[in-house]
Amino acid sequence: MSTPKQIQLSHGGGGREMAELIGKLFFEAFDNQILRQEEDAASLNMTGPIAFTTDSFVVSPLFFKGGNIGKLAIAGTVNDLAMMGAEPQYLSCGFIIEEGFEIARLKEIVQTMAAELKKSGAKIVCGDTKVVPKGCADGVFINTSGVGRILKPGISVHAVQPGDAIILSRDIGCHGAAILAAREGLELESELQSDCATLWPMVEQLIAANLPLHAMRDATRGGIAAVLNEWAKAANVGIELSEEAIPVRDEVRGVCELYGFEPWDLANEGTFVIALPQEIAAEAINVMHQFCNCDQARIVGTVTEANAEKVILHSPWGSKRYLELPAGELLPRIC
């Protein structure tokens, strides 16, 4: 019998085919001692405060410039831990695969995940695979959960304070724009790449520098508009941003012009914001500038007591307006 090239329902059935898939593909790629135990649950040895997070990934298309769903699934969960000042240690990984999905593509996704794990040193220690009939999923869905030891306690949205500087790690909107460009029906061509990246190496250095970080968050869905609005609400503060200071690359601007979007509403997958005391902002930026992913890191705004719960964008035209929470579904504007 020849090895099938597509995932079949039997791959999720708990029998021989599934064991083979898990053994050949997942164990080989994610190999580590804990995973190899093949227990019902991973047994972990952890002490002290722990950060714990989960995220499901359902991106379309699955492969895009600058990454694929696997890279997102690792970087996303690792970044959520890093943003809490926690060292990403152990991840779980659940796959929901559509019948008929090509095994070669699954392999590519899994290998990307393994490569991305190396950037933080986190390990996948448990997992699950389900196969659903054709049409019940869009290729593959991945859920990852993660735990990590909190190295720097107290980083919290509630710790954002008036007087804080807001630092942005790099230019915004690349992931959202790259996904849109790759989406069926829009047929755009560009060099644009998703910013998808593991942020732990930068965060590790920021923690090592012992800087009093108040809050950190990666600006994923809803872009920096969503993150900053959440901060303003949670900490009951105002946030004032300088539009000129926020870097946006030309191609992202191009996509925004085409569809009437705004770059602050577009998703990022390797871009984060930090709130910390103004006087140490320069030091933090110096640390960040050592990484090519953050060589554009800069102050883009400040936290104020006035205008609580609002984010205000100052334009280079001398005007200001509210930066709102973006609407759920980004639809092209025709007018």
Binding site: R253, S315, W317, S319, R321
Partner: protein, 374 residues
């Protein structure tokens, strides 16, 4: 002079220093005005620019913007959206429409809500996508819910032309194309209107040419300046209007010469004339019925008209906005959004009661989001 770069077409017309300098020229000249200038920017795109770039804050008190009825999404009466929803609920119908139209609520919900209920509703970016959808679904009827002013009508004409040429019979149209000049007339017909100058739409004029506003100048003795969409364009147009007012002139001017000619895109106009004819009356949300203000398919294309084909199954009940809603007065420049009792209370962008709150180009929506920043 070096050659023009694409980026200059964006940045050059958004340059903050130019905007600032034009603002100071406007301020200086506006001091000589003997009466306030109430400029209607007919087009929602201009409203968007004025809000996005904060141009209101740069102008003196004796210049006021009155945001006109030029957003095709906002002026769509609820019964038309109800018709779209009714079409989408028919078995074997795929409803196709442009982008953010699907967010606008009809009397029983928005098209997005009907999509969630299982109707096959597809927002597209390009009208020609409807052709592809029709080809890929030969056993379904695809209805293109066509919206837009003069700018977007030629694209619907090409879609129809292609469907005819390629023999794609399962593509029908629900036409909601509306016209700018009758809307201007409707605003000016009100004896209490305060509008005394117009900024003419950018991209409507690309198609129609600036010629369509000459009657406005002649009938109402108001300056009309056709303007580009960028902030420098708008400021330069305001400066021209103030100049006309100070010098006692009322003329048609074209600030947007790089894209608009007097006669417009005549090839596009011919296509529109080939497939469309004027509809005797169309009800505008906020303004009510306006004679000759919209288009419909010519009799020879009746077989493509979803309104005729599904006539008896489409709701025709006219649905007015909430009684407290003052959109009509706001569109005529007789009231400001803040004057309306329901503004920001019962009526918000999430739950719009009237046309001006519906899309980001509506006056109330823009005020709700931008005004009051301290």
């Amino acid at each position: 002079m070096s050659e023009l770069q694409l980026k200059q077409l964006y940045d050059g017309f958004r340059d903050p220093r130019t905007v600032a300098e034009l603002a100071s020229q406007i301020k200086e000249l506006a001091a000589k005005l003997t009466e306030p200038v109430n400029v209607m920017e007919v087009c929602g795109g201009h409203t968007h620019t004025i809000m996005k770039y904060g141009l209101l804050q740069l102008l003196p008190d004796n210049i006021e913007f009155i945001h006109g009825p030029g957003c095709p999404v906002c002026i769509m009466p609820k019964e038309r959206i109800d018709q779209a929803a009714a079409l989408a609920q028919l078995p074997d119908v795929i409803l196709v429409t442009l982008g953010d139209m699907i967010r606008v609520p009809g009397s029983e919900g928005s098209l997005a809500q009907f999509r969630a209920k299982g109707c096959d509703i597809r927002p597209v970016y390009m009208p020609l996508d409807a052709l592809k959808i029709a080809q890929e679904n030969p056993d379904k009827t695809v209805v293109y819910f066509a919206i837009g002013f003069e700018t977007s009508t030629p694209m619907t004409a090409v879609l129809l032309e292609q469907a005819e040429k390629l023999g794609i019979h399962n593509l029908l149209f629900h036409i909601n194309h509306v016209l700018v000049p009758p809307a201007i007339d409707a605003v000016m017909a009100d004896p209490e209107t305060r509008v005394n100058a117009f900024i003419g739409p950018s991209h409507v004029s690309v198609i129609t040419g600036s010629q369509i506003y000459q009657p406005t100048v002649d009938k109402y003795h108001t300056p009309v300046v056709v303007s580009g969409f960028e902030p420098v364009d708008v400021m330069q147009s305001i400066l021209s209007i103030v100049k006309q007012k100070v010098e006692g002139r009322c003329e048609l001017e074209n600030q947007y010469e790089r894209a608009v000619s007097y006669k417009g895109n005549e090839a596009a106009q011919r296509k529109v004339a080939q497939y469309f004819t004027v509809r005797p009356s169309f009800r505008w949300r906020g303004l009510g019925p306006i004679p000759n203000s919209a288009l419909m398919l010519r009799p020879e294309y009746r077989h493509r008209d979803a309104e005729l084909k599904y006539g008896e199954r489409l709701p025709v009940k006219e649905i007015d906005d909430h009684k407290a809603c003052q959109c009509g007065d706001i569109l005529r420049g007789k009231a400001k959004p803040q004057d309306c009792k329901v503004f920001g209370r019962g009526c918000t962008p999430q739950t719009p009661l009237g046309s001006c709150m519906v899309s980001s180009e509506g006056a109330c929506n823009a005020y709700y989001r931008y005004a009051g920043v301290k």
